[in-house]
Structure formats: structure tokens, C-alpha cells
């Protein structure tokens, strides 16, 4: 039994406020749970138990002294291991960052600390966030708490599994093509990829700079709003971050959804969609209609081009962002007789197959003679894809899609065919390409008791509107209350 570790943020905050539990007790419960299930789940790469307890103590002292408290005060949160926490190793699940301990905090970490959060440790991911299953980690896969023979999704699989298994009250993930939303779907969680520019990327080890966003992975939507509010906002250190106006997430989440219109693209509900996913999706639609939400069929004519565009833009930017891992200033260094030999030995030994693949692909599409044919073309197609979405969102308040084509697949099932793995991102990549917000919540379960998720896609900066839709859905349904039977 998970005990207090099974609490949500809002439940924990209430219990802490009512002095029914202390942050130290809560943190101890979470670490006891980690000890109990981690050998089976492998959600974490690095635990920070000692500092977590110190942070918990500090929180309890603040509470006892009636000092001002942050919205996450005393609550244990896990961090995906591609974000820098000063003094704590950051690996990106790669050997090339062996030994690297960042001398600075990511902006989101600074904000979490200001909110009083307790940091439990760094979670597993696909190496450099390249992947949809967390099988690309250099340190072994994470297992789905709902079925330990299956993947938790990726690349934020560690964060998702940690939350689903109650090894953290909530977690931060990052999303470039679905890496928060797809694991949220496969693990029965709420996962938000905020509008691009809403959350600072300073301190997030970059995959694709024009696509990456940090976001929350939580047990329910209410938690999602709390955690999102704590981390979002303009940052002087990130030129692409935006000044926010309008109600903050915890206020925007309130209110009715009667009369709102959700669009469903006809291109989404294809033959290839798993029948159980389809059934859950249809059931969710019915539940939303009961809440007064209207539906409308729309078309996204460029839907089929989203994956090709993504698999040109993302690897190109990734190949550039990964050029800095060269053994010179930090991380792994393999000896060489000269600098070029050192570069090649270090990078060849340090990067796993998926990073190598993406670096080669990315370097190729940016190389002389091919830039116009591939990369530039993809950027133009991206413009048209964006027009599609913006047009669709003129007539609809938001869109609703399945989150993934299937529930969690088995470990090892897709690893031989990278293209197959890429195809599982079909519902999520467009959202990053066009910079809009995407929120996934559970909407059903398969016969094998595997979670199935659905995705809300919103207008730019209407993250609050998505949270409200999802919250009213969770008021009326129970999917988010189920827990995996890890024991």
C-alpha cells in the first residue's frame, strides 16, 4: 500500500495544512514507496533522499513558524533527468554525460524551490529525450506500473511511471513531439505540454529548440494546474519565453464548459486506430456531450505530413544541439591522440544508437545541397500545418483527439524498426510543430487494464481553457482515480 504517497498535490496540501501529516512524513512515505517498487519499475536514475528530507524539514519549520508558504510547500516532486539541478548529476540517460553535475539550476527548478517543493530525484528517459518508450535509455528501460512487461511511454517515461506508481506526488517532464502526453496516456495520468513560450527552457537540456516545452505529469487535472502555475512565466534567461496575461491556471480551471465546441479532425479516426482506443474515445465524447460540450467535424488536410515534417525539423535541431557533447568541457571524455580522435571516440562511445541515428539524419538534412530539399521544405510545410490548426480553431474552442494509436506496447516490441516507433507519435507531433497547448488525461481502460488517454488541443495560450474542459470531465468520471495494482 502506498499510504500518503498515493495523495495528490491538492490532497497533500490540505493534509499538510490541517497538520494531519508533516512534509517529513510525506517525504518518508514517498521514499518508502520508492524502496518498495523501484526495483520493479526503475523510474529513477538518481535519488536525492537526504536533501529531500532536509527540504521537507525546512518546509515543516516554515509551516510551524507561520511563515509564508508556497503552493507546493513540502510536496515531493520528481524531475526528468534532462533538466539541470545544481549539485545533482544530470545524465539525459546517456553515457556521454557521465559525471556531469550542473553548476546551475534550471529556471523551473528555481521556481519549484520558491514554491517550497521537495525534490525526490531525477527520473529516467529515452536518451536525450529521443524516443517514445524510454527503452532508449542507456541505463535500462522503465516499466509501466500498470503492466511491468510494457513500456510507460517516452521520452518522459520515468516521470510518468514514478507518478503512476506513487513514487512521487507529481513530476516534471518535457515534450518535443509528445514526450509528456504519450506517457501520460500510457500511464493513466494528466500531462500538459504548455503553449510554446509559456515555460522557460533555460536549464532544459535541449532536443529541438523550437519544439521543446517543460510541463507537468500529475495524478489529476487539478494537480496539473497547480504545478503548471508554479513553473510557468516569462524568464529573462529565455528569449523565447513570453509574458503571460489572463487568469493563472488554478483560476482558469474553474468554470463551466457548457456550450463550448470541440473539433475532431476526420483524419484522426482512421482504420489503423486500435478499436479499444476508439471505443474509449467515443465514450469520452459522450461524457463531454453530457456536460453540454458541442462537437464538430473538422479537417486537417495536412495531418499526414505532420510526421515527415517532424522527423526533419526535430533531428536537424537535435543534431545541432548535441554538437556540444564533445568531451572538452564536461561529461565523458575518451582519450585520443589528437582532438578529432578525441571527439570521435567520445561521441561514438557516449551516444547510444537513437542519438546517433538522429544526429546522422539531422546532419544530413542540414548539409550543403540538401538544406532546401529537406529542411527548408519542412519549415514551409510547417507553416501550412499551422494555418490548418489556426483555421480549425477559429470555429472551435479546442480540438479533441486520441492521444496514442494503441495502449502501452510491450518492451522490445518496436525497437527493431525505428520508423514504426516514430509512427506512434502521430497524434502528438503536430501540436509541438504549431506551438499550441496539448493536454492528455485518461478516458478509459483496455480489457487488459491498460490506460487509454485522450488529448485536448487548444488555441495559443488557452492552456487554462483545456484545463477547465479536462477538469469538468474528471468531475464527472473516475478514470483518473484508478491505480495500478503494484502492491
Amino acid at each position: 500500500m502506498a499510504g500518503p504517497a498515493a495523495l495528490t498535490i491538492h490532497e497533500a496540501a490540505a493534509e499538510l495544512a490541517a497538520k494531519k501529516i508533516s512534509s517529513v512524513e510525506l517525504t518518508q512515505a514517498v521514499f518508502a514507496r520508492i524502496k518498495a517498487v523501484e526495483p520493479r519499475v526503475h523510474a529513477y536514475l538518481h535519488l536525492t533522499e537526504e536533501t529531500a528530507l532536509a527540504e521537507a524539514q525546512a518546509s515543516d519549520r516554515r509551516r510551524a513558524a507561520d511563515a509564508p508558504l508556497g503552493p507546493l510547500d513540502g510536496v515531493p516532486i520528481a524531475i526528468k533527468d534532462n533538466m539541470c539541478v545544481r549539485g545533482v548529476p544530470a545524465t539525459c540517460a546517456s553515457r556521454i554525460l557521465a559525471g556531469f553535475v550542473p553548476p546551475y539550476d534550471a529556471t523551473v527548478i528555481t521556481r519549484l524551490r520558491a514554491a517550497g517543493a521537495v525534490l525526490t530525484g531525477k527520473t529516467n528517459l529515452d536518451e536525450f529525450a529521443f524516443g517514445s518508450s524510454t527503452e532508449n535509455s542507456a541505463f535500462g528501460p522503465t516499466r509501466n506500473p500498470w503492466d511491468l512487461d510494457r513500456v510507460p511511454g517516452g521520452s518522459s517515461g520515468g516521470s510518468a511511471a514514478a507518478v503512476a506508481a506513487d513514487e512521487a506526488i507529481a513530476a516534471l517532464g518535457s515534450d518535443t513531439g509528445g514526450s509528456i502526453r504519450q506517457p501520460a496516456a500510457l500511464c493513466g495520468l494528466a500531462g500538459l505540454k504548455p503553449t510554446y513560450g509559456r515555460v522557460s527552457r533555460y536549464g532544459l537540456i535541449a532536443f529541438a529548440s523550437s519544439l521543446d516545452q517543460i510541463g507537468p505529469l500529475t495524478k489529476d487535472v487539478e494537480d496539473c494546474a497547480i504545478l503548471q502555475e508554479a513553473i510557468e512565466g516569462w524568464d529573462a534567461a529565455d528569449s523565447t519565453s513570453v509574458r503571460l496575461d489572463g487568469p493563472p491556471p488554478t483560476r482558469a480551471i474553474q468554470g463551466d464548459v457548457q456550450g463550448l465546441t470541440l473539433g475532431i479532425a476526420k483524419e484522426w479516426l482512421t482504420e489503423g486506430l486500435d478499436p479499444e482506443v476508439r471505443a474509449a474515445f467515443d465514450g469520452a465524447r459522450a461524457a463531454l456531450e453530457k456536460l453540454g460540450v458541442k462537437f464538430r467535424e473538422i479537417s486537417l488536410p495536412l495531418q499526414d505530413y505532420a510526421l515527415p515534417v517532424y522527423y526533419l525539423v526535430a533531428p536537424a535541431e537535435a543534431s545541432s544541439n548535441l554538437a556540444r557533447f564533445d568531451g572538452v568541457r564536461y561529461g565523458l571524455r575518451e582519450d585520443g591522440a589528437n582532438i578529432i580522435e578525441m571527439y570521435k571516440k567520445t561521441r561514438s562511445a557516449g551516444f547510444g544508437p537513437e542519438p546517433k541515428r538522429r544526429i546522422i539524419l539531422g546532419t544530413y538534412v542540414l548539409s550543403a545541397g540538401y538544406y532546401d530539399a529537406y529542411y527548408l521544405k519542412a519549415l514551409k510545410a510547417r507553416t501550412r500545418l499551422r494555418e490548418d490548426y489556426l483555421n480549425a480553431l477559429k470555429d472551435c474552442d479546442a480540438l479533441l483527439s486520441p492521444a496514442t494509436p494503441t495502449p502501452a506496447f510491450r518492451i522490445g516490441e518496436k525497437t527493431d524498426d525505428p520508423l514504426q516507433m516514430y509512427l506512434s507519435d502521430i497524434y502528438t507531433v503536430s501540436v509541438n510543430l504549431v506551438g499550441l497547448p496539448g493536454l492528455v488525461i485518461p478516458c478509459g481502460f483496455s480489457k487488459a487494464n491498460l490506460p487509454i488517454g485522450m488529448q485536448f488541443i487548444g488555441r495559443a495560450f488557452d492552456d487554462g481553457g483545456l484545463l477547465r474542459l479536462a477538469a469538468r470531465f474528471q468531475d464527472a468520471t473516475d478514470w483518473h482515480r484508478r491505480r495500478p495494482s503494484l502492491g
Binding site: 513560450g197 499526414d304 515527415p308 568541457r329 578529432i340 571516440k345 546517433k356 546532419t363 499551422r386
Partner: protein
């Protein structure tokens, strides 16, 4: 879109990777498959379309010219694989 082995080697060198025979073969084939897949973009009419390089709505972000604290020499040394006389030390650079 047939990729020659020489092309894959050239790309690997640009990216400072040494690939084994098996890797050259494997990545070459996978690269070809992926490029084949993305060829579908050629069906899209894109003349006169502006490329999207940024999705952030903002422009002109700058900061004022005021010094801010950074890292100490010791902090640089602490993360560097090799550090000597206050500098990061690297193997010799052949004239290129």
C-alpha cells in the same frame, strides 16, 4: 533515394562520429528508409510559402548591458575532464 556508403561516412565525419562497418550499413539503410518516408513532402505545393522558424509570437528580445555573476574558475575546473593552469586542457590540434 539511394545513399552511398561514402555519403554516410562523410556525414558521420561532419558529426564527429566513428561508425563501425555494421553501423554504417545499419544507419545508412535506416536513413534511406526515413528519407523515403519524408519524400512525401514533395507532394505538397509550397511555392510562395514562408518557412516557420519560430512559433513564439515575440520579437526583439534583448537584455541591458549590465554584468551578472557567473561561474568561478574552480567551478569550471570541477566539471572539466582535464584542467591545468586554470584552463581546460585538450589533446593537440592538428593543423587543419
Amino acid at each position: 533515394m539511394a545513399l552511398t556508403r561514402k555519403e554516410v561516412e562523410a556525414i558521420a565525419h561532419l558529426a564527429r562520429l566513428s561508425l563501425t562497418e555494421a553501423e554504417l550499413e545499419k544507419y545508412g539503410a535506416q536513413l534511406e528508409a526515413i528519407l523515403g518516408y519524408v519524400e512525401s513532402l514533395n507532394k505538397l505545393p509550397l511555392e510562395g510559402v514562408e518557412p516557420t522558424t519560430h512559433v513564439s509570437p515575440a520579437t526583439d528580445r534583448t537584455r541591458t548591458d549590465n554584468p551578472a555573476p557567473g561561474l568561478t574558475q574552480a567551478e569550471v575546473g570541477a566539471i572539466a575532464p582535464e584542467f591545468r593552469a586554470g584552463s581546460v586542457r585538450v589533446p593537440r590540434i592538428l593543423e587543419e
